[in-house]
C-alpha cells in the first residue's frame, strides 16, 4: 500500500468522526431534539473519506441530502455542522439551511442539496471554471444511484466529456432510492457502464474499501489535472440506517431484509480498515483507539456547542437574500 501512516490515521479519524456524528444525529432526531429531516450515511463512510482524502484542500466537492459524511471528509467543522442541524445562528448557514443544505465555500464544499441530482451540473460548472482559470483544481461530485436517473446526470456527463473537464463523478450506489430498489427502476446493473455513452472512463469500485476508493480517486484526479477529462466512479456501498431518520412514519412494512442489512454490517468499512492496518502492522490497536476516542469527544463537544448556541432572531429571516 502506497499510503503513509499519517494519511491512514487521518482516514480512520474522519471515518470515526462521521460514524459518531451520524449516530448522534440519529439519536437526537429520534429524541425530538433536532428539527427537520435527517438522512444519515452510516455504513458509507469509506466512500466519502476515500474520495476526499485523494483531493487537495483547494479542490471542490458537491454533495447531497445524505451529505454529512462528505462534508466531514472534506474537512467540515463538526461543531458548526451540528449547530446548523440544530437550526442555530452559529451554524454554517446561520440556521437557514439545515441538514440538507450545509456548505463551506472556504473549504471548497459547494453545498449539500435537497434536490436529487441538483448538484451534478453545479460540479460540472465548477470544473468548467477551473479549466477556464487554469487553476488545476478538481471537483468531485457526489450523488446517489437514484440521481443517476435524473436528466442532470446525463446532461452533465456529456458536457464534461465534450469539454474534458476536471471533474470526478462519484455515484454512491447503496441499492435504494428511498424505498425503491435501484434494480427496479434502473436500466443497468452497474451505473459505471453509463460512462461508455459519454465516452469517458467508468469504474465499479468497492465503496466500503477506503483504500480502493482512494486509489481510484487519485487516478481520476491525476487524469483530470492532466487535462484528460472526467471519470465516473461507481462506489458500491450500503446505508445501514433508514432512508430518513424515523422512516417508519413514511412507510409501513419492509423493503429490505434483515439478512441483507446484516450482510452489509459484516462488511463495516471502519472494521475493514482496522483489520488491514493491524494485520500489516502499520498501526497498533491503541493508536487506533486513541483516534476513535478523540472523534467521539469532538462530536460530543459539537453537540454541547450546538445546544448552547442561540437560535436566530426572527428578523434574521430577512437577511442574506441579496448582496
Amino acid at each position: 500500500m502506497d499510503i503513509g501512516k499519517e494519511l491512514v490515521l487521518e482516514m480512520y479519524r474522519k471515518m470515526h468522526r462521521i460514524r459518531n456524528f451520524e449516530q448522534k444525529i440519529k439519536d437526537l432526531t429520534t429524541a425530538g431534539e433536532i428539527p427537520g429531516f435527517a438522512h444519515v450515511s452510516i455504513g458509507e463512510e469509506a466512500t466519502a473519506v476515500g474520495v476526499c482524502s485523494a483531493l487537495r484542500p483547494t479542490d471542490r466537492i458537491t454533495s447531497t441530502h445524505r451529505g454529512h459524511g462528505h462534508l466531514i471528509a472534506k474537512g467540515g467543522d463538526v461543531a458548526r455542522m451540528m449547530a446548523e442541524i440544530y437550526g442555530k445562528r452559529t451554524g454554517y448557514c446561520k440556521g437557514k439551511g439545515g441538514s440538507m443544505h450545509i456548505a463551506d465555500f472556504s473549504l471548497g464544499i459547494l453545498g449539500a442539496n435537497g434536490i436529487v441530482g441538483g448538484g451534478i451540473p453545479i460540479a460540472t460548472g465548477s470544473a468548467l471554471a477551473a479549466k477556464l482559470a487554469k487553476t488545476g483544481e478538481v471537483t468531485a461530485c457526489f450523488f446517489g444511484d437514484g440521481a443517476a436517473n435524473e436528466g442532470t446526470f446525463h446532461e452533465s456527463l456529456n458536457l464534461a466529456s465534450i469539454w474534458k473537464l476536471p471533474v470526478i463523478y462519484i455515484c454512491e450506489n447503496n441499492g435504494f432510492g428511498e424505498f425503491t430498489p435501484t434494480a427496479a427502476v434502473t436500466s443497468v446493473k452497474d451505473i459505471a457502464v453509463r460512462a461508455k455513452g459519454y465516452d469517458i472512463p467508468g469504474y465499479v469500485v468497492d465503496g466500503n474499501d477506503v483504500f480502493e476508493v482512494y486509489r481510484h480517486t487519485s487516478e481520476a484526479a491525476a487524469r483530470a489535472r492532466a487535462g484528460e477529462g472526467p471519470t465516473l466512479l461507481e462506489c458500491k456501498t450500503y446505508r445501514w440506517e433508514g432512508h430518513v431518520v424515523g422512516e417508519g412514519a413514511f412507510i409501513s412494512g419492509k423493503y429490505r431484509t434483515e439478512e441483507e442489512v446484516a450482510r452489509w454490517k459484516a462488511r463495516c468499512p471502519i472494521i475493514a480498515l482496522e483489520k488491514a492496518v493491524l494485520e500489516s502492522g502499520m498501526l497498533k490497536r491503541d493508536e487506533l483507539d486513541r483516534v476513535a476516542q478523540q472523534a467521539r469527544e469532538e462530536v460530543e463537544a459539537a453537540v454541547q456547542f450546538a445546544r448552547q448556541s442561540p437560535l436566530p432572531e426572527p428578523s434574521e429571516a430577512n437577511e442574506d437574500l441579496w448582496i
Binding site: P35, G36, F37, G87, K88, C93, G95, K96, G97, G98, S99, M100, H101, N113, G114, I115, V116, G117, G118, G146, A147, N149, E150, G151, G177, E178, F179, T180, A184, V185, T186, F250, I251, S252, G253, Y255, L311, P312, E313, P314, S315, E316, A317, N318, L321
Partner: protein
C-alpha cells in the same frame, strides 16, 4: 359518514376513481409503498400495471404522463414535493399546459398531478414552497388546493374526471387533519368556492392550510364581538369570482391569506380581481397575509417569521377593522 384523515380521504377518492375507470393509472416515486400515507391493500388491488414506481426522473415521467394522456389513458401522476416540479417544468408548462391549445383543440389531456406543498417545520427552502403561484400564469392548468379531508376527496375525484391537466396541491400540514367525509359519490366541482364560516364584519379569503388558521382566528375574535366570514376558493384556476365578490359585497372588508410569497401570490391575483370588480364594495384597503419574500428557512423561529400564521391574518385584519 366516517371521520377520516386527509390522506385517507385522498386514497378513498383515488380508489373509487380507479375502480370506476380502468384507463386510470398512478405513476410516481415510491407509489407502490406510498411515502406520504397509503391505503391498506392499494397496491394489491390494482397491481403493477396500474401503480408504477418511477425512477428519479421527474422530467421523464411528468412528460410520460402527457404522452399517455394524449394516447387515451387517464394518468394520475404524483410529484412528491411541488418543488420537484421545477425539475419537470418544460413538460408541465410547455407541454401539458399548452398542447391542447396549440393543436387547435385537437387533443384531450386528462392528467391529474398530485403533489405536496407548503412549510411543515424544518424542511427548508427546497421542500417548503407552495409553487402554485408559478403556475397561475401558465394558462392551461387547473389548480386545486383543498383545505380539509372532505374537499380533498371531492376535488380529487373531480380532478381525475376532468379532461384537462389539473394539479392538486396537498398541503403537508393538513395530512393528519380529520373530518367527516361522505362515502361514495362525493364530487366537489372545480371552480366553486366554499363559505367555511359565515360572518359580517370582514371576509378572510383563505387558501389551503390558511383555512384552519382563519377559522381558528374567527372563533377567537368572536369573543370580542368581531364576526369573520371565511371563504375557501378551493380552486385557484378556475376561480369562483362570484362567491368572493358576494362575500366582499356583504362585509366590505377583506384579507386574503395565502402561504405563498407576497409577490406573484394567489393573494395578489385575487386582490387585484377584487380591486377591479369589487372596488365599490370596499370600505378599506384590501390586505394580504402572505409569506414574506424570502425562501423558507430551515430553523423553526426563522420559518415562523416567514410563513404567515394566525397572527399575520389578525394583524392585517386589525389594520382594516378600524
Amino acid at each position: 359518514m366516517a371521520r377520516i384523515t386527509f390522506i385517507q380521504a385522498i386514497f378513498d377518492g383515488l380508489i373509487e376513481e380507479m375502480e370506476r375507470d380502468p384507463l386510470t393509472f398512478v405513476l410516481g416515486l415510491d407509489v407502490t409503498r406510498g411515502t406520504f400515507g397509503r391505503a391498506a391493500g392499494f397496491f394489491e388491488r390494482f397491481g403493477p400495471e396500474r401503480i408504477l414506481d418511477m425512477p428519479l426522473s421527474e422530467a421523464g415521467f411528468v412528460g410520460a404522463a402527457v404522452g399517455a394522456a394524449m394516447a387515451g389513458t387517464r394518468p394520475i401522476c404524483e410529484v412528491q414535493f411541488a418543488s420537484f416540479f421545477y425539475c419537470a417544468f418544460d413538460q408541465l408548462c410547455n407541454q401539458a399546459a399548452k398542447l391542447r391549445y396549440m393543436s387547435g383543440g385537437q387533443v384531450r389531456l386528462p392528467i391529474t398531478f398530485r403533489t405536496r406543498c407548503g412549510a411543515v417545520g424544518g424542511a427548508a427552502a427546497q421542500h417548503s414552497e407552495t409553487v402554485y403561484p408559478q403556475l397561475l400564469s401558465v394558462p392551461g392548468l387547473k389548480l386545486v388546493m383543498p383545505s380539509g379531508p372532505a374537499d380533498a376527496k371531492g376535488l380529487l375525484k373531480s380532478a381525475i374526471r376532468d379532461d384537462n391537466p389539473v394539479v392538486v396541491f396537498e398541503h403537508l400540514a393538513l395530512g393528519g387533519a380529520r373530518e367527516e367525509v361522505p362515502e361514495g359519490e362525493h364530487l366537489v366541482p372545480l371552480g366553486k368556492a366554499a363559505v367555511k364560516r359565515e360572518g359580517k364584519d370582514a371576509t378572510v379569503i383563505a387558501i389551503g392550510a390558511m383555512v384552519p388558521k382563519a377559522i381558528a382566528l374567527a372563533q377567537r375574535l368572536e369573543a370580542e364581538g368581531i364576526s369573520l366570514e371565511v371563504i375557501d376558493p378551493r380552486t385557484l384556476i378556475p376561480l369562483d369570482e362570484e362567491a368572493i365578490l358576494a362575500s366582499v359585497a356583504k362585509t366590505n372588508r377583506v384579507v386574503i391569506a395565502d402561504e405563498a410569497h407576497l409577490h406573484g401570490s394567489a393573494a395578489s391575483d385575487i386582490g387585484c380581481m377584487i380591486a377591479e370588480k369589487g372596488f365599490d364594495y370596499l370600505d378599506a384597503p384590501i390586505k394580504r397575509a402572505t409569506a414574506i419574500d424570502a425562501p423558507v428557512p430551515f430553523s423553526p423561529p426563522l420559518e415562523k417569521a416567514v410563513i404567515p400564521g394566525e397572527a399575520a391574518i389578525e394583524r392585517a385584519l386589525r389594520e382594516i377593522l378600524g
